[in-house]
Symmetry: C2
Subunit: 253 residues, 2 copies
């Protein structure tokens, strides 16, 4: 399987954070050791995993040489660890963005801890910036959540281009899959767009989708991955299926 | 009423663009001359208003002194004009961000055209950056769309703080209102969060909300404001009510 996965899409509100948490929790239930890295200044993943107001990646870098991520990584559930974010993360972008090799900062610091985990999932903000580029450079797979809505098609095209440019400019070849989230099969617009997504992106679109599920929203109020909140929840079972599918994806030779 | 309105929230996918377009279209139906300014590099407003691949605010600035926004402003429907965005807009952030007074760039260039319009609505990206700060500095009201979901509360608090800091640091006092969008009244989580939003933000939360409405999603496929797509659509009538409400808001003396 893949080892480091970036969950990204510059379109906002497509379930990047929800996918990171619930795919991560599902991989953990399959017995994998999972690190969830919150690389979004808004720190929504950290809030939902109960790690608000903790040290972040940036704090560790500032604390001096050698920077050790282990000082910030917290174990939150069986097989699940979190590298939290906080508002100070905004400073890392300002500090590193104009330096040569700024896009390798995360990869470099993940190196010493990487082999402890079976999977590292990185949540990113709704933009193409320092954080998203760092996450992509540190990953071997990108999962692109998207809603089945008109503006989504525009968005997926954009991130697909970015992944292509990264491959050409740096030689870093990243595989990617598109995950349709919050799908409402009774909604005509969703069906129309779904056909267009499949037509345009073919096998890149995972044939498994995540339904719009009120149980997932409820699970976030109590800050639990949905599968811990309600074993029978539709979205929980779908994320578990997704985890099995992702684990079975072979790296290209 | 207010003249220049920023529609903002760094939380992604809360209906910023949809609110800009449909509130704008409703104000136009009430006989007001409306400029929709797309200040998001993703240019979703421009795509939905049929102004893709046109000159942007940045192109006009680059074209030389004196920069005239009228060269980029397009009339798209009765009483509705658009100042489009495109991918080159990303360059304006790089170019101006480190200059003194970078946050006044938009306000300065809107000055010559401002009085032609009754309303200027500015769409912003899901982040607090050059574009959002410029929009806020040029405005006298901020409309903050939010979903009634757990993470939303965190987000509204953040943008509320930013507006406060702007007031202290620059003396620019901006009024603001919170608009709940994509509301599903059968959803238990939405009801729980709605109560929390009202409890926490009181009269700042507009008592009028926008329902989740498949007709709005369909309207975006054909690139029309929803009230032009289906006169009877729930969300269209709600945006029209919102327009009347906004038009009636008096500036504080
Ligand atoms: N399957 C689902 N069913 C119902 N609601 C969902 C589902 N997945 C996500 N949501 C809700 O949709 C909203 C957006 O999800 P989320 O915050 O994970 O998206 P995001 O892409 O991370 O957003 P941002 O761009 O702001 O980072 C959240 O309020 C979440 O509760
Ligand atoms: N009232 C509504 N009912 C149903 N769907 C809606 C409604 N308002 C917006 N949407 C849909 O929700 C999605 C998000 O809306 P929109 O793109 O306007 O949000 P945004 O805040 O501008 O997103 P971004 O943060 O990416 O700029 C869109 O696909 C849109 O079609
Ligand atoms: Mg997120
Ligand atoms: Mg938008």
């Amino acid at each position: 399987g893949f080892h480091t996965i970036t969950v990204c899409n510059q379109k906002g509100g497509v379930a990047k954070t929800s996918t990171c948490i619930n795919l991560g929790a599902s991989l953990a239930l399959l017995g994998k050791k999972v690190l969830l890295a919150d690389f979004d200044v808004q720190a929504n993943l950290s809030v939902l995993m109960g790690c608000r107001n903790n040290r972040s990646f940036f704090d560790v870098l500032e604390a001096g040489k050698p920077a050790e991520l282990t000082k910030a990584i917290l174990k939150v559930r069986p097989n699940i660890w979190v590298l939290p974010s906080n508002s100070r993360m905004a400073l890392s972008s300002k500090k590193y963005l104009n330096q040569d090799g700024f896009e390798y900062v995360l990869q470099k610091h993940l190196e010493p801890v990487k082999d402890f985990f079976d999977y590292i999932l990185i949540d990113t903000p709704p933009s193409i910036d320092f954080f998203t580029l760092n996450a992509l450079m540190a990953s071997d797979l990108a999962v692109i959540p998207t809603q089945s809505e008109f503006l989504a098609i525009n968005g997926v095209n954009h991130i697909e281009n970015i992944i292509g440019v990264i491959g050409e400019k740096t030689g870093h070849r990243l595989d990617y899959r598109i995950l349709v989230t919050m799908y409402d099969q009774q909604n005509m617009a969703s069906q129309v767009i779904m056909k267009q997504l499949r037509h345009r992106y073919g096998a890149r679109v995972l044939d498994l989708l995540i339904a719009r599920d009120p149980r997932l929203q409820e699970s976030q109020i109590v800050r639990k991955p949905v599968i811990y909140y309600d074993k029978g929840a539709v979205s929980g079972r779908q994320y578990l299926d997704l985890a099995r599918r992702v684990d079975a994806l072979r790296r290209p030779a």
